[in-house]
Symmetry: C2
């Protein structure tokens, strides 16, 4: 029976990186590539590469390596990149426009199929050669495009309602750029990119290197900060 082979989420997230590395190696006229070389290009270790690739099947040749073209094809197929995936961007503000103008999407098989905004004054504008449409047009747009990916590039307060609209219109893959936690029905994939969160994570580690939090002792923190109640506990 044709086992669909469960692929761990962590592996899936690395496949696109391998694919890019393979493209580079292909440019360099290499016909085969070892797990070690691929690991170097992808910034991981060789054992991880081999384990990840083994989930796709036994596409390597012992003593030789992986055939670049063949592995590229298999990986593209597994990732669903053998055909284009149209993208609908909701929210034509700063970020939405930048995304629309970013050529990297179309180049990688994700053409901007539509732009949508709630603001009536923006509807009708042409951005990157695409006419901005209203939120009401979403259901028809999605119906006409088939499998589509929705990108939320609205302010935080609008994110959840847009996600609801998208889900209701039949979109089952959503990428959220709004700085808000949103929930979607079962069967809908949601990924998020939160720029401020990334900076805050960097801030955490940077600060640790700089010498830890201000008032590295909890007791001292009580001086700077505000204890919630008369009696505040110490570290433990």
């Amino acid at each position: 029976m044709t086992e669909p082979r469960r692929i761990p989420e962590a592996t899936v997230a690395r496949l696109p990186v391998y694919l890019r590395a393979l493209a580079e190696e292909s440019e360099a006229k290499a016909t085969t590539i070892s797990s070690e070389r691929l690991a170097e290009l992808a910034g991981v270790n060789a054992a991880k590469v081999r384990k990840d690739l083994s989930y796709l099947g036994s596409y390597g040749t012992r003593g030789v390596g992986y055939d670049v073209e063949y592995l590229t094809f298999q990986m593209s197929r597994e990732l669903g990149l053998t055909h284009d995936w149209p993208v609908i961007i909701v929210g034509v503000g700063n970020l939405g426009q930048a995304l629309a103008n970013y050529g990297g999407f179309r180049d990688r098989g994700f053409p901007i199929a539509a732009l949508v905004d709630a603001d009536p004054t923006k509807v009708g504008d042409i951005v990157h050669g695409v006419r901005v449409q209203g939120l009401d047009d979403l259901p028809d747009l999605v119906a006409g495009l088939g499998s589509v990916i929705g990108i939320i590039a609205t302010p935080a307060h609008a994110a959840q309602s847009v996600a609801d609209l998208l889900s209701h219109a039949g979109v089952t893959s959503i990428l959220n750029f709004a700085p808000a936690v949103i929930s979607v029905p079962d069967g809908v994939s949601l990924r998020k990119v939160d720029l401020a969160v990334e900076l805050q994570i960097l801030s955490f580690y940077q600060q640790r290197r700089d010498g830890g939090p201000v008032g590295d002792d909890t007791a001292k923190a009580r001086v700077t900060g505000l204890p919630p109640a008369p009696a505040a506990g110490a570290t433990g």
Copy 2:
């Protein structure tokens, strides 16, 4: 010596989300918040919230919950958000300009301190009220700003050399938007945001829902695809 409390990476990544949830709850005039409510706002489960917060210290009150103001302060302190972190954006193309114009950074304590580009024709331009400077100015800029976060918004081929320049100039926190794997010296934090990779991950799961890869059997795939051995040449 006060134990610096090791905080798991997964927890660190969630702290900013909690912080945002706390801000919302504070807006709503709530003085205390339970782990359950916080979990709901952050899109995780309550046990995880409690475990995460316990790494910061015992800031809750049993039977009551967490004091919103106090927890906000402690969390901000731990994340290093009690002061601003200036940001230098390298690469003033589409994405770089969008990031510069995105108000969400300054609002959250990450003011754009400088814009840098390798293209001499762009140097001197004013973007978002900031004058674009040349790559040569990086060392002086960093020296004058102290702890700073570097954002790479260049094309992929320039990413590694920019990362080298930043590291050499003393930047120890880097956020990479370029679609390339880059390496940095020990002691430098690197995080990456790759838009195309996110779309490709969504594509993977979308396709699985749509009925799996074309040629769902490996044997069949060899018919559709090209066996590596005799001769190859397609996909391209």
